[in-house]
Symmetry: C2
Subunit: 151 residues, 2 copies
DNA sequence: TTAATACCTAAACCTGACTTTAGGTCAAGG
DNA sequence: CCTTGACCTAAAGTCAGGTTTAGGTATTAA
């Protein structure tokens, strides 16, 4: 059993945030001893799930909904599973968005590397939009949503 | 040259957002014809960069800063390159966070699959924290930040 | 005994990124 | 001529997710 201060230290989350989460109903079963919150393993695991769902794009209200399902026992297994499946798909989608962002960033890094070496952007601009070095052209196309044309 | 309405359609961005970006200084060179905004290729490319930097975690103010650098010409190549390098590192970091989130989500999917099949969580709980099936154990460890212990 | 800590609440406040509102200009079509 | 549609501005409003403030309790340490 941990106090709010200990949990705050362990997870590097402000105390005010933990209280806010509690107020929002994210720890529905948390016990208290003369008014003082006692975080058990259950709440610790809840914190990991909260972080996971938050990162996956869920709002606090929706996370609360999930926490309520867990209180309803085996009746809600299917709903909970569905939620995680949906979140998984969302995160996979987000990763692939970030990969595209990364392609743009890599392209821009190359762009400025080259501009610095050349002292100007002129040479690069002359290569646009399809005479870039092959590796760079791939990044450029990905970042500009240019699909390979039919043969 | 495009009107704000055309750009809004092309990129699926609300007109109000485009005006907001303009007001925040994200299109410092945009021309107008009798008060009406004219989006050129320059602003179109700016929009792609805005999206990229936004996704990478930059705030609007910081993106404005970048747009101002581009106006200063070759003098700011190095700063701009540095910015993209930093953003690249940030996005790589975020992707790896999402990978860990994905491990948690996969673990939870397995968890509820199994719980549904068993009709209860008991069997699973009995396997915690280190008697899970090997593949699942990996996900669990990753999601719970458990490093492999020294041999 | 008093002063520092660690905890508590309710309610106000903050921030970023938009969105909405209210009121106005201007060109084309019926 | 007058209405419709696409544009414009300034300013107020919204929303999520916290954070801060103000005031209070309980335990411990000098």
């Amino acid at each position: 059993m941990y106090t709010i201060g200990q949990v705050s230290e362990m997870f590097n989350i402000p105390i005010s945030t933990l209280r806010y989460y509690d107020k929002e109903g994210l720890f529905p079963d948390m016990e208290r001893q003369s008014g003082i919150r006692k975080f058990s393993e259950q709440e610790i695991e809840a914190l990991r799930v909260i972080d996971c769902l938050k990162v996956s794009g869920l709002e606090i209200k929706e996370i609360k909904q999930f926490m309520e399902w867990t209180k309803e026992g085996s009746r809600t297994f299917a709903q909970r599973k569905q939620l995680f499946e949906t979140r998984k798909a969302a995160v996979e989608e987000e990763i692939s968005q970030l990969q595209k962002t990364l392609d743009m960033l890599k392209y821009k890094c190359w762009y400025y590397d080259t501009a610095i070496a050349d002292g100007s952007e002129e040479n690069i601009i002359a290569m646009l939009p399809d005479k870039l070095p092959p590796e760079i052209q791939k990044l450029y196309n990905s970042a500009h949503e240019i699909e390979k044309e039919a043969a």
